[in-house]
């Protein structure tokens, strides 16, 4: 019984690890492809050959080893991988870092190395390349390319890395097309032209424009707060003003003619009286502290500085 449970637990762990691996591999996407490679990416033998890029869309590194690349998915349902290119499992470079890509050559030369496949788009009957999971049955991604790619010097791929469809006006549309720049091994969406900062340097070389705009915005922001606080103040003191008005209306005519400074003590006078009373009440004391000392107590008291606590006590014999 105990052994059965152990076997079951082992199976669950193995199953979990397989599914985990599968889940990570499913984050891979066929991202970009170039067939007419006249002056673009060169393989390690110095040849210009067609290539395809695989992009890892996840934020974890993924090992592509064991997966298949093919231009003919016949046999997918039965897991017949005999005609597919299997990515070697012995090569440690098959790990694709997060949000990065690997380039595979479609040169029909699988003996040239890990990244050389048995696919040649120029002789292929199908216009697609498929990425299949190591189990030989799960299709991870299929990259369908137009026939025009076979004669075009441009590459074909996702406009945004790893995203082959997008939603426009509520409809799912293709997010792929001929790309202006072939970018093997790097992001498809390249920044063309000047950056924000470079553009600013050209249009405002002395920084005066930016200074004027920025100061205006700072003033605008703080003026808005100023106006808000003004309204605040007005509404907050409205009650006080109302009360004062009512009080003024209640004051008899005789006292109304009395000068303001004779009506009552001013704020400063009240403060002086309060201070005097405070001093008077707090300065009276009959009892002294009865502590006579010439030493100031230590400012930095710490039990570490207490001799009786840190010294070893002498054992007394009785």
């Amino acid at each position: 019984m105990n052994i059965k449970y152990r076997i079951l637990a082992l199976c669950i762990v193995l199953l979990g690890s397989v599914s985990l691996f599968g889940q990570q591999v499913t984050d891979l996407r066929l991202n970009e492809m170039l067939v007419v490679n006249d002056s673009n990416y060169v393989d390690e033998y110095g040849r210009h050959v067609p290539w395809i890029e695989i992009f890892n869309t996840s934020y974890n590194q993924v090992n592509i080893a064991g997966c298949y690349l093919t231009d003919d998915t016949t046999g997918l349902s039965v897991g017949d991988a005999s005609r597919w290119y299997r990515i070697p499992t012995t090569d440690p470079t098959t790990w694709i870092p997060q949000r990065s890509s690997k380039v595979f050559f479609l040169d029909n030369s699988p003996l040239y190395g890990t990244y050389h496949t048995n696919i040649d788009p120029n002789t292929s009957a199908n216009h697609y390349v498929a990425l299949i999971n190591s189990n030989g049955k799960t299709l991870i991604d299929i990259f369908v390319y137009p026939e025009a790619l076979l004669t075009s010097a441009q590459s074909y791929g996702c406009y945004d890395d790893g995203i082959n469809t997008k939603v426009e006006n509520g409809k799912k549309v293709k997010n792929m097309g001929m790309l202006p720049y072939a970018t093997p091994g790097s992001v498809n969406k390249v920044q063309v032209g000047a950056t924000k900062s470079e553009h600013l340097q050209k249009s405002d070389p002395h920084g005066i424009g930016l200074a004027v705009i920025s100061i205006s915005v700072v003033f605008a922001a703080l003026i808005m707060i100023f106006l808000m606080l003004k309204i605040f103040g007005y509404t907050a003191t409205r009650k006080d003003r109302k009360a004062k008005k009512e009080q003024a209306a209640d004051v008899p005519a005789a006292t109304a003619n009395v000068p303001a400074n004779e009506v009552g003590p001013t704020g400063e006078e009240l403060a002086a009286i309060t201070l005097a009373l405070h001093l008077f009440f707090n300065s009276q004391h009959d009892e002294e502290s009865e502590i006579i000392t010439i030493d100031m107590p230590s400012k930095h008291y710490s039990p570490w500085s207490q001799k009786n606590l840190v010294m070893k006590k002498v054992v007394r014999r009785r």
Partner: protein, 381 residues
């Protein structure tokens, strides 16, 4: 055996700091010691200068590369702590603490003082233009200019985004000038004011209700963040901290933000910024230029604040006038610049206490510099 012994000792010596020491490291260690001395003997911003000074010493202890001990070495403890500076995590947390400590009553009771905080931000943009003229790129110029805001966390936040390579010099420059506020500002204030103006007595501020204090952070964040969303991390945390304080129902949170949290982050930011000033990356001509530009931006910011008050007084009735000695407080070195206003005011009239009045533009300067930082980010990042 003898050879092994000698080789072992030689190897150990090669790993030690003595073998790898360069003049630059020694110079920076001396700078660190000066910072610590100034903090202890003169009490110039000790909370900042001691961690920074000690960080400078730590960052300039020579070592062999690859030991994973340096601040720029991936995986080292200091590198992990430095992550908070590099990614702009610490500055918003410091703003949270500042918000939880700041009383905006002076500003709420006398709202016109907020405009002084705006005027003092001119220093940022003057330094930006000057940096461009000296050949810095717009992104670097933006990061250098923010020193004029006199706000250390904002300077670190902006430089981490716009010019991470200059962050050490910018942060050290900003904090140094903040510490030197009592030295830099008074001569400019005296130069730009007349003895009569220095005697102006301002009307005492009115009492501010609890409702006003609670509404202030809420409305301010809505106004400023909608206008400059790029300033959200700083402004959001500042006003959030203030709401924690003023709501009066989250005392524990406000207490943590204004005590334990800000203390922890100040220690980490000071130490790691100090560590980032390794001689190899810090001792350059650019660093000297940054220090010069920082001083220039401080001077311009102070002068603009004072001159703006003088201009403003032309439109104010007698009795409502503002003492131009509080103009310097528009730079957001809280509360040092407000204290300078008070001290200068007392020199000319021993009963004219300007501290509460100066706190208004001082906290307005914090808001102003965060807004200015947001604008720089939206233009340059």
């Amino acid at each position: 055996m003898k050879e092994f012994f000698i080789e072992g000792l030689q190897q150990f010596f090669n790993y030690s700091g003595f073998a790898n020491c360069e003049w630059g490291n020694l110079i920076m260690i001396v700078v660190g010691l000066i910072f610590i001395t100034l903090a202890i003997t003169k009490e110039y911003e000790p909370m900042l200068l001691i961690p920074i000074g000690f960080g400078i010493i730590l960052g300039n202890i020579p070592f062999t590369d690859g030991l994973q001990v340096g601040v720029y070495e991936n995986g080292s403890v200091l590198n992990y702590l430095y992550f908070g500076v590099l990614k702009g995590v610490y500055p918003p947390l410091i703003f949270l603490g500042i918000g939880a400590m700041t009383d905006f009553s002076a500003l709420i009771s006398n709202p016109k003082l907020i405009l002084i905080g705006a005027a003092a931000q001119c220093g940022i943009f003057a330094a930006y233009a000057a940096s461009l003229a000296l050949g810095f790129t717009p992104m670097e110029a933006g990061a250098i200019g923010i020193i004029g805001g006199a706000d250390g966390p904002t300077a670190i936040f902006i430089s981490s985004k716009l010019a991470p390579s200059l962050m050490g010099a910018i942060a050290i420059s900003a904090y140094s000038y903040m510490a030197l506020v009592p030295v830099i500002q008074p001569p400019i204030m005296r130069l730009l004011t007349t003895p009569k103006e220095r005697l102006i007595r301002m009307r005492p501020p009115r009492a501010v209700s609890h409702r006003e204090k609670v509404m202030f952070p809420l409305l301010c964040i809505l106004l400023t963040a909608f206008l400059v969303p790029t300033g959200l991390p700083l402004l959001g945390m500042l006003f959030f901290g203030n709401l924690l304080k003023e709501s009066s129902v989250t005392k524990r949170l406000a207490n943590t933000a204004s005590n334990a949290l800000i203390d922890i982050v100040t220690i980490l930011i000071g130490l790691t910024v100090g560590c980032s000033t390794q001689a190899s990356t810090f001792l350059k001509v650019e660093s000297i230029l940054i220090f010069v530009l920082g001083a220039f931006s401080f001077v311009i910011a102070t002068a603009c604040g004072v001159l703006f008050v003088k201009l403003f007084n032309l439109f104010l009735k007698e009795g409502n006038k503002i003492n131009p000695l509080i103009g310097n407080s528009g730079v957001s070195a809280v509360p040092d610049s407000a204290r300078v206003s008070n001290v200068e005011g007392l020199k000319y009239d021993k009963t004219n206490f300007l501290l509460m009045h100066a706190m208004g533009p001082n906290v307005a300067g914090v808001i102003g510099s965060a807004v200015a930082a947001g604008i720089l980010l939206s233009f340059l990042y």
